[in-house]
């Protein structure tokens, strides 16, 4: 059994987080989404992995090169669609195989259910089916896949995970995989629908927080680094090598902290928080339900809640993110969303900046302490 992991997609709707990396490389619970997908496959004994890279391919290739196990990589030259991506991998496929999106989370139990069934797909109920391919099922077999319909006939959606045989590749004529599957079905192939257990996708940037929350539940505890005797732990906490936790810092799991961070004294890291590597959090700052990527620094007396903070952001003292709910228009669709803030990479903020339910682009520089709401485009300078 082989697995083809599709990691070429850009994830436009996840901007600003996908400016410098493809969706599959967004770190969630301190590891790229694709790493969690590989875990599920390897746990099922599927070790022959083919990764298709495309958009920002260097970041995927460099990551795969650093893995402790061998992974075959192929490059999709232009991002024409999922079937086209699969075609890019065709030269490496010589056995029954799974197609797995590298940018959605999938658990090992679901893979176990689908891996031994020839011609099957994993499906799942979803509260907003119109964002996905909606699947029509009759007697356990797929009869139709409708891509992102205005009005969904059912709430069952495709996870994008298929179990296929090498013969499928020879008759694949379209650029999108669901179309290719429907062609095959119309030619008489029986495609079994199997219900996935844990599958989760992030469509919009704030969805990353929910995904982070789910994946943190799976983290193994570890206490590396230098931890002061007065640090208080509860729940599952993972602290990387070389990290210093100052006196009277409190950590309430599930929390994961990377390598070489400096946190505290007197900081509170509350549940559902991921903190990347080389992050500096100055005294008396509280972080809760948030995702801080690598090389972030947060000044003292700050309060971050429900925030995604991109790589290399530098937030001065007394920064706050405030949870609220409002409407966002993304790629022509209006979405209602409740969260604190999503900051792209390298955002810098002056003391006393307040982020209230906003999406701030990459490299935005906020030069005075203001209240930021709604959407700030990449590279904006706010005086």
């Amino acid at each position: 059994m082989q697995a083809v992991i599709l990691a070429a997609g850009e994830g436009m709707r996840l901007r600003p987080l996908t400016h410098s990396r493809p969706k599959a490389m967004i770190p969630v619970a301190n590891r790229p989404i694709i790493a969690h997908v590989m875990d599920a496959l390897i746990e099922n004994g599927i070790r022959d992995l083919v990764v298709v890279a495309g958009y920002r391919k260097e970041s995927v290739l460099s990551y795969c090169n650093r893995l402790p196990f061998p992974v075959t990589t192929v490059v999709q030259k232009r991002q024409l669609g999922t079937a086209d991506a699969l075609r890019a991998a065709a030269g490496e496929i010589h056995d029954d195989f799974l197609v797995v999106p590298g940018d959605n989370f999938i658990d090992a139990a679901s893979i176990a259910k689908v891996k031994d069934v020839q011609n099957a797909m994993l499906v799942r109920e979803h509260e907003s089916p119109s964002n996905f391919g909606v699947v029509v099922i009759r007697k356990g077999y797929v009869t139709g896949i409708i891509e992102k319909p205005e009005l969904a006939p059912t709430v069952t959606v495709s996870t994008g995970i298929f179990s296929l045989t090498p013969g499928f590749l020879d008759r694949m004529e379209t650029t999108e995989l669901p179309d290719a599957v429907m062609d095959a079905i119309s030619r008489g192939m029986m495609m079994k629908a199997i219900h996935a257990e844990g599958w989760q996708d992030a469509i919009y940037p704030w969805d990353v927080l929910k995904l982070n929350r789910s994946l943190l539940a799976r983290v193994e505890p570890q206490k590396g680094g230098r931890i002061h005797g007065s640090v208080i732990f509860s729940g599952t906490v993972r602290v990387g090598e070389g990290t210093t936790l100052g006196p009277h810092t409190t950590l309430q799991g599930p929390v994961v902290i990377g390598d070489d961070c400096q946190i505290g004294p007197g900081c509170c890291i509350m549940p559902h928080t991921s903190i990347g590597s080389r992050v500096r959090i100055e005294p008396f700052t509280l972080v809760s339900g948030s995702l801080l990527m690598d090389d972030v620094s947060v000044g003292s007396h700050s309060h971050l809640q429900d925030a995604v903070v991109g790589e290399g952001c530098s937030l001065a003292d007394h920064t706050s993110t405030v949870r609220d709910e409002s409407l966002f228009s993304i790629e022509g669709k209006v979405q209602k969303a409740a969260f604190g803030a999503v900051l792209g990479d390298r955002v810098t903020a002056a003391p006393f900046t307040v982020f209230r339910n906003c999406v701030v682009g990459n490299g935005v520089s906020l030069r005075s302490g203001r209240v930021i709401t709604s959407v700030v485009p990449d590279g904006t300078l706010v005086m």
Partner: protein, 580 residues
């Protein structure tokens, strides 16, 4: 400069030797050959690159063998000059990396005694010298006797009929032995060994070793010696292309990680104490390492107030400069012959020595008093990229240490800016370069060596003539060469040299030279006067040194790629220059 490999064990040697040679091709690739021993010695050798088919050498029997991949120094690349070389009887075969300086005299002497030479190489004299001293069962003694006649540098492997092993010897050329399970190997570097063993022995100068199945005995000056067995931690995957079309691009993209790892792991404390107590500092390097030294000069003089001189290894060793204080050799491979000799010379003046290198256990680490390691990992692309960044990481750390941490913050976040520089759009700039016959690179201050390095990358891999100049020097001559067909790459960042750079660029534009400007993001002044503007990612000084370097590496890479050059193996060049 060549690569050699040898095998004694239970497997058929020839295919294994060919695979080993492929891994050493970066050391030279104009001809190749193997010799194996099965009752008698048989030799296969050819000029040209090793063909890709896997069956090569399959017909050759024997579980003992030696192989060679050549980069011609004495005698043109041809079948007959390819190694291994044999003696008159065809019973003894030799492969050699290095240069025998007195071979002309030896050859005349041997010819007088009736030896017939079949090649123009210096190596063949070794085969005939061994032949004269050879008695059955006494190959090692014969080699030892032959070596007493040689002057120059060598790493050699010798096999002979009825001798169940290989004799290996080294002097000033690299040779590593590997001890496997019932098999032993030898090679110019570790890469061919890693597939079979992680246990290696680095031979010292003057060592002569006998390799048999699973057993190695070493003699030095006629007495038996023990050399430590070291464990190698590299994994073989480190040296694969990993999905990138070229090693060079892979290595360019490893730079954020390499920079960070080097910054984190390098301990400059002791070196800083040495430097402080030194009246001045001498840095020695060749090629890209020399450019790293030039950048370091600016950094250390400006931030630490220490007088620094930078010398090319090949120049330093041929005159008698007054030297005092610490002498630092910079060499990625640790095997660069010119840098090694220069360090030896510094030692002879009783100067303390130090080395900045990427290869643990390389020759320079045994020569220098102090060693600072870069953490670049194996660099395969002939054009050095990540090793340069890693060398700068070492010198930035040193400069920061000597200036009470003045650069620490900038160094701590530099890897992010390097990552951003990997994404700068270059298509228009590449378009200007691909059609050019000559390109000039100009910068001022520390950006002058950056310009030199950018020009070196361009000429190495794209074969376009490129020169780096301090921007102010352009007027003192090279200006005469500017035409509408000669692009100029100008690095102009805000700071004391900015105004002067802008007026330089205007002067170039007045001669209608197309200008590619590299400057700070949002700098509209320069963006307006140049033809193509490449904005650098934001970052405090000295981060622009690193980001502009990365952009110039990428400009050279993409230009060479657009011209379909053999990027990982440019013509006439080899990775580490282990000869003068």
């Amino acid at each position: 400069m060549c690569g050699i490999v040898g095998y004694v064990g239970r497997r058929t040697a020839a295919p294994l030797l060919v695979e080993g040679l492929r891994k050493l091709e970066y050391r030279g690739y104009d001809s190749y050959g193997v010799a194996t021993l099965h009752r008698s010695v048989s030799v296969l050798k050819k000029s040209g690159r090793i063909p890709p088919d896997a069956g090569l050498g399959k017909g050759m029997k024997g579980k003992i063998g030696i192989g060679h991949t050549r980069w011609a120094t004495h005698g043109e690349p041809s079948d007959r000059n390819a190694h291994p070389h044999t003696d008159c009887t065809g019973k003894i075969a030799v492969v050699h990396n290095g240069i025998i300086e007195n071979y002309v005299g030896l050859r005349e002497e041997l010819e007088e005694r009736g030896h017939r030479f079949r090649s123009d190489t210096d190596t063949e004299v070794i085969a005939h010298l061994v032949e004269e001293a050879f008695r059955p069962g006494k190959l090692q003694e014969a080699v030892e006797q032959a070596l007493t006649r040689l002057e120059g540098s060598y790493a050699i492997l010798v096999i002979a009929q009825d001798e169940p092993g290989i004799v290996a010897a080294r002097k000033s050329s690299p040779l590593v032995l590997g001890i496997g399970d019932g098999e032993t190997l030898a090679a110019s570097d570790m890469t061919p060994l890693l597939e079979y063993t992680e246990r290696v022995i680095f031979l010292e100068d003057g060592d002569v070793a006998m390799l048999r199945e699973g057993e190695i005995t070493i003699c030095c000056n006629g007495t038996s010696v023990q050399r430590p067995v070291e464990q190698v931690t590299w994994c073989l995957d480190d040296v694969k292309k990993g999905g990138f079309p070229h090693f060079m691009l892979k290595e360019i993209h490893e730079q954020p990680q390499v920079f960070y790892e080097t910054v984190r792991s390098v301990d400059v404390r002791e070196m800083a104490i040495q430097v402080r107590s030194s009246p001045w500092l001498t840095l020695i390097g060749c090629g890209t390492s020399y450019h790293a030294g030039l950048v370091a000069k600016y950094l250390l003089e400006e931030h630490a107030g220490i007088p620094v001189r930078v010398e090319m290894g090949s120049e330093f060793k041929y005159y008698a400069p007054p030297v005092r204080g610490l002498v630092v050799g910079i060499t990625q491979s640790g095997e660069t012959a010119d840098t090694l000799t220069a360090l030896q010379k510094a030692r002879s003046y009783n100067c303390p020595t130090a080395a900045v290198t990427n290869v643990v256990g390389s020759s320079v680490t045994r020569l220098a008093d102090h060693v600072l390691y870069t953490r670049a990992g194996p660099e395969i692309g002939v054009a050095a990229t990540k090793s340069f960044t890693a060398q700068l990481a070492v010198f930035l750390q040193l400069a920061s240490r000597l200036s009470d941490g003045a650069l620490d913050d900038a160094i701590g976040t530099a890897h992010l800016a390097i990552g951003d520089a990997l994404r700068t759009e270059l298509d228009d700039a590449v378009g200007l370069c691909t059609g050019a016959k000559d390109i000039f690179y100009v910068g001022r201050g520390p950006f002058y060596p950056v310009a030199l390095e950018g020009a070196l990358k361009m000429k190495e891999i794209s074969y376009i003539h490129a020169e780096g100049y301090p921007a102010g020097e352009l007027k003192h001559g090279p200006f005469a060469l500017l035409t509408p067909e000669t692009p100029v790459v100008a690095i102009a960042l805000p700071g004391p040299t900015y105004a002067a750079m802008i007026s330089n660029v205007k002067e170039m534009k007045a001669r209608q030279a197309p200008v590619i400007g590299i400057g700070a993001t949002g700098d509209t002044e320069i963006a307006e006067i140049v033809d193509v503007f490449l904005p650098l990612p934001d970052g405090p000084e000295p981060v622009p040194l690193l980001t502009s370097t990365v952009i110039l590496q990428r400009l050279a890479y993409h230009t060479a790629d657009a011209l379909s050059r053999d990027i990982d193996r440019p013509r006439n060049l080899a990775k580490s220059v282990t000869v003068e």
